[in-house]
Every structure is written in structure tokens, then in C-alpha cells.
Amino acid sequence: MLGAYLPILLLVIVAVGFGLCSLVFSSLIGPKKISALKLSPYESGCEPVGTARERFSIKFYLIAMLFILFDIEAVFLYPWAILYKKLGVFGLVEMGLFIVILFVGYIYVWKKGALEWE
């Protein structure tokens, strides 16, 4: 019974081992060029210390919203890809419709200029 979980145990060991090895070996043999930017918690993010009431562009919200929209819809494509053959023509037609509806939304946001930053 428990033997069935052996592959999962192996996967966990390999994953943890890979992570540990990368960290250990890169700190042992990797070159170290320390700079203030490199030591900050988020190398390419916001300043981590300072006032929390900073204003930033509303465009981020729009991009985030569009990302979530299309990202969530893309998630539906994975199960279809797995069951592609079993679902047959019915699945193809249904997903075709789904993608067409998605595409209408995409054309709309594109033409409205929501994807342009400036």
C-alpha cells in the first residue's frame, strides 16, 4: 500500500536535493561580487523600506487584471490538451468556441489600447 507512494518520496528527495545542491555549490564555487543592489531583498522590485503610502501607476492594475483574465482562461486549455483525443470532435468544437470568445475579448482590449503602456 505504502509502496505506491515510493515515486513521490523519490521525487521529494530529488527536488529537495536539487535545491540544496544548487545553493551549496553556488555559494562554494560561484564568484561573489557584492553590491548594495544585489543584497536587497527584491533585486528588481520596489524599495522594501519606506512609506507604504506610495502612489504607483493605475496601469499596473489594468495589466494585472488582463493578465488574470487571460491566464485563468489559459488554464482551461490544459485539461483539454490532456484529454484531447478522448474528447474528440465535440471537445474540439467546444474549445474552438471558447477560444473565439477569448479572442473577441483580446481584440477588444487591443483595439482599446489597453495593452499599450504609454
Binding site: 478522448k86 474528447l87 477588444y108
Partner: protein, 485 residues
């Protein structure tokens, strides 16, 4: 290789929904690809599309088709309500263009959004699964939130959109929790299966989970139909939203809420009728009284009609408390005539008010009877119908609602309803007094009546009068519609 068995799906029941959705998407693309400027052609296409859908829906009258393994149904009940939604949307489209042009917010997205709202409402009326009903409600609500805040240069419209969204999302939580509890108690979300499971319970009224589910679902729908004490959003949203959208909101979604409430209470939970009719009795009395008494003190006419629309939800609830053939047919009849008279009244308000939603007080109607006698006559008919005076549609509607209650022995409820109706005459007559007995305080240009608005007014006047003079024609349809559920 084993194939997944694909269920045989009969698309006939949702053909109108599919047609409208496709039309809405086409309009959305037409709008972005056409140069900015006049958007009137979108209104015309929408109107023709809505009329075509009405033909499609009407062709299904008398049919009885279940589809999607019992999640959607095509029956007379759904068909009747779909006709009300299409009517409300058609009239709204007719009165929108001129208003949006004047308020300088004539964005083409208006029409696809109205069509999507109709799709949602149609799904609510034809859904026989709690999930379908919920999905329909969400499609309707999300579009409505945008429509309420459509005039984005107007602060009040923004406020209306945000308020509607926050409170609407909150009430959706109640509804969904109620559906979850009902599912927990019965093990199914299919409305007809819930009925048989509850019917087999030895003592369903002692099943706390089921009762809580019913209560929460009723709360959610009471919010959508703006019944007191869940009406607090109504005045602010109705006042702030663009006037054509207020007209639409008070006619369409209110009817959709009643459609879903009727389907769930009468089909799924008839065994609990004693329980829910007691609750609705209190709700109906509160709604009528709060709506009418608050409306007495309003000077802004949109706000006044918002409170009046709360009161009208109360009258319709009287029919549901009765729960018999006369009462429920009365609700269908009333929702139809309410769509005519209310959208008609709002169309007149659009013509009287000025750019930036100014000039919207009862006092601004002063002298309308002398300057624009035809408009004043139309407004008088709408107000008489709203007040429930014979021979208008409003009178016959109220007559059936209250006589349904009397038949079931709810004498006091009918008495309270009639008293409320009498009180409401005051604030409707007040507008008429200003129209016919006062001189206008200042001279100004009256807005021109364009052809689409004139058409909407003619349809509304006919719809407020004809069912009042020959009620049997529409009532027969309404009675056939409630027979099957």
C-alpha cells in the same frame, strides 16, 4: 481507446441566449473598429436584434423541453419572463441614445452590456439548477454594476456603480451560502430533484440546514428585487445611475429576481410554503410601507420613483405570499405592466431633465401640461398606472395580486396593500399637480423628442393602457405560464 461519453445536448432552450450573446460580441467589435462619434447605429442594431430574439422566444411558447441534464428548461414560465426582459431592454435601447448623447458619455459598450444583462436574466428565468440560476444572476449583476456607473464623468454615477457593486457582491454571498446549505441538506442542486428530496423528508420544517438555506437564498433575492429591509442601496443607485439604466434596472432585474424566487420557492420548496409565506408576509408589509412612506418626502423624482419601485416589489410579494394561481399569475402580469409604465415614466424624466442630470426635481415638471400637452398626458397615464387607478394596467395587476391574497385568506395583507396603494396616490398626484396647476418658474428649451423616444413612449402608453382595458388576453398567457411550474 475509450471515449468519454458526450451527453446529447439539446440547444433549443438556450437558442435566444446564444443569439443575443453572439450579437453582443459582434456589437463590441463593431464598436472598437468603427471611428468614434455617433453610436446610434449600434442602438438600432441592438433594437432589431432584441426584436428578432423576441420572435425566437415567442416561437417557443407552449413548448416544454428540458436540456443540459435538467439544468435549463424551456417552458411557458421562462418564455413569459424572457418576453418581459426583452421588452424592458428594447424600450431602454430606444430611450438611451438621445440621453447618452446629451450626457456626453455615448460609449458604444452600452449596448453589448445591455444585451449581456438580458442574457443573464434569461438564464435566471430558464435555469432549473441552482448553479444555472446563480450564473445567470452573476452575468446580469456584473453587467449592471458597469451600467450603473456608466457615466464616468458624473460623481453620482460613480458612487452608484461602486455602491451597487459592493452591496451586490455582499448579497451574492448570502445567496450562494444559502444554495450551498440547500445542497448540503438535499444532496442536489437541481430544482426539481430538491422538490422530490424535500417531499420525501419526514419533517422538512425541522431540518435546520434546509431552513437556513432557504432563508439565505430568500435574503439574496430580496436584495435583488429591492425588498425592505434589504432596499438600502436602491435610492442611491437609482438616483445616481444614468436615467435609462435606472429605468432598465427597475424593470428587468426586478422581474428576473422574481422569476428565480418563484421558481425556487414554488418548484423546489413547496413543502415549506407555510414557513416561507410567513416570512414573505412580513417582508411584503415592510417593503410596501417603507417604500411608500419614504417616497412621500422625496423631491428628486428619480429618488421618488426608486422608493416607489421598492413599494411595487412589496405589492408583487403579496402575490407570492398567496402562492396560488391568481397571485402568481398576478406577479407575471404586474411585472409586465410595470416594465411599460416605469420605463415610460423614466423616458419622460429624461426629456424634462437637462444635461448633467440637473432639473430632476418634481418642481421642474411645473407647466409641462401647458408647454408639452402630449408628454404630460403620457406622464399622467404612467403615473395613474403606477398608482393603480382604473382603467390602467397597474390597477388590474394590483387587483389580481390582492385578490390572490384574499382567496388564500390573507385579508389583512390585502387591506394593508390597498391602504399603501392609497397613500402612494399622494406622491404620484403631486407630480400631476405641478404639471397642470403650476406655472414654470423659468423659461427654458424643452428637449426635442426624437423618433426612437417617441416610439418607446407610444409602446409604453399602449402597454400601460391596453392590459387595463382588456386584461384577459395577457392574463391568459400569465395563467398558462404559471400552470406548469
Amino acid at each position: 481507446m475509450d471515449m468519454i461519453s458526450i451527453p446529447v445536448v439539446n440547444m433549443t432552450p438556450i437558442l435566444p441566449e446564444i443569439f443575443l450573446s453572439v450579437l453582443a460580441m459582434v456589437l463590441l467589435l463593431l464598436n472598437v473598429f468603427s471611428p468614434s462619434g455617433k453610436k446610434s447605429y449600434l442602438a438600432y442594431i441592438s433594437f432589431i436584434g432584441i426584436a428578432a430574439t423576441a420572435v425566437l422566444v415567442g416561437a417557443g411558447w407552449g413548448g416544454h423541453i428540458e436540456s443540459f441534464s435538467g439544468a435549463v428548461i424551456l417552458d411557458n414560465f421562462a418564455t413569459f419572463f424572457k418576453m418581459i426582459f426583452l421588452l424592458a431592454a428594447g424600450l431602454t435601447v430606444l430611450i438611451s441614445d438621445q440621453y447618452m448623447e446629451r450626457e456626453e458619455c455615448n460609449h458604444g459598450e452600452l449596448y453589448p452590456l445591455i444585451l449581456f444583462t438580458v442574457v443573464g436574466m434569461m438564464l435566471m428565468a430558464s435555469g432549473t439548477d441552482l448553479m444555472t440560476i446563480f450564473l445567470g444572476l452573476e452575468v446580469m449583476s456584473v453587467s449592471l454594476y458597469v451600467l450603473a456607473g456608466f457615466n464616468r464623468n458624473n460623481k453620482k454615477s460613480n458612487e452608484a456603480g461602486l455602491k451597487y457593486f459592493l452591496l451586490g457582491a455582499f448579497s451574492t454571498g448570502f445567496l450562494l451560502y444559502g444554495m450551498a446549505l440547500t445542497y448540503g441538506a438535499t444532496g442536489t442542486t437541481r430544482v426539481y430533484k430538491i422538490a422530490s428530496v424535500v417531499g420525501q423528508m419526514t419533517l422538512p420544517s425541522a431540518n435546520i440546514m434546509l431552513l437556513a438555506g432557504m432563508l439565505l437564498m430568500m435574503t439574496g433575492f430580496a436584495f435583488k428585487i429591492a425588498a425592505a429591509p434589504f432596499h438600502m442601496w436602491t435610492p442611491d443607485v437609482y438616483e445616481g445611475a444614468p436615467t435609462p439604466m435606472t429605468a432598465f434596472m427597475s424593470a428587468g432585474p426586478k422581474a428576473a429576481g422574481f422569476a428565480a424566487l418563484l421558481r425556487i420557492l414554488l418548484v423546489a420548496l413547496p413543502t415549506l410554503q407555510i414557513e416561507w409565506s410567513q416570512l414573505l408576509w412580513v417582508l411584503a408589509v415592510l417593503t410596501m410601507t417603507v417604500g411608500n412612506i419614504t417616497a412621500l418626502r422625496q423631491d428628486n423624482i428619480k429618488r421618488m420613483l426608486a422608493y416607489s419601485s421598492i413599494a411595487h416589489a412589496g405589492y408583487a410579494l403579496v402575490g407570492l405570499v398567496a402562492g396560488n394561481g391568481t397571485g402568481t399569475a398576478g406577479i407575471l402580469f404586474y411585472m409586465l405592466s410595470y416594465a411599460f409604465m416605469n420605463i415610460g415614466a423614466f423616458a419622460i424624466i429624461i426629456l424634462v431633465s437637462k444635461k448633467g442630470e440637473t432639473n430632476g426635481n418634481v418642481m421642474d415638471f411645473a407647466g409641462l401640461g401647458f408647454k408639452r400637452p402630449l408628454l404630460a398626458v403620457a406622464m399622467t397615464i404612467f403615473l395613474f398606472s403606477l398608482a393603480g387607478m382604473p382603467p390602467t394596467a397597474g390597477f388590474i395587476g394590483k387587483f389580481y395580486l390582492f385578490s390572490g391574497a384574499v382567496q388564500k385568506g390573507y385579508i389583512w395583507l390585502a387591506v394593508i396593500g390597498v391602504l399603501n396603494s392609497a397613500a402612494s396616490v399622494y406622491y404620484y398626484l403631486r407630480v400631476m399637480v405641478y404639471m397642470y396647476m403650476k406655472e414654470p418658474t423659468e423659461e427654458f428649451e424643452w428637449t426635442q423628442v426624437t423618433a426612437p423616444v417617441a416610439l418607446a413612449l407610444i409602446i409604453s402608453v399602449a402597454g400601460s393602457m391596453i392590459p387595463g382595458i382588456v386584461p384577459s388576453f395577457i392574463l391568459e398567457f400569465a395563467q398558462q405560464a404559471v400552470k406548469l411550474i
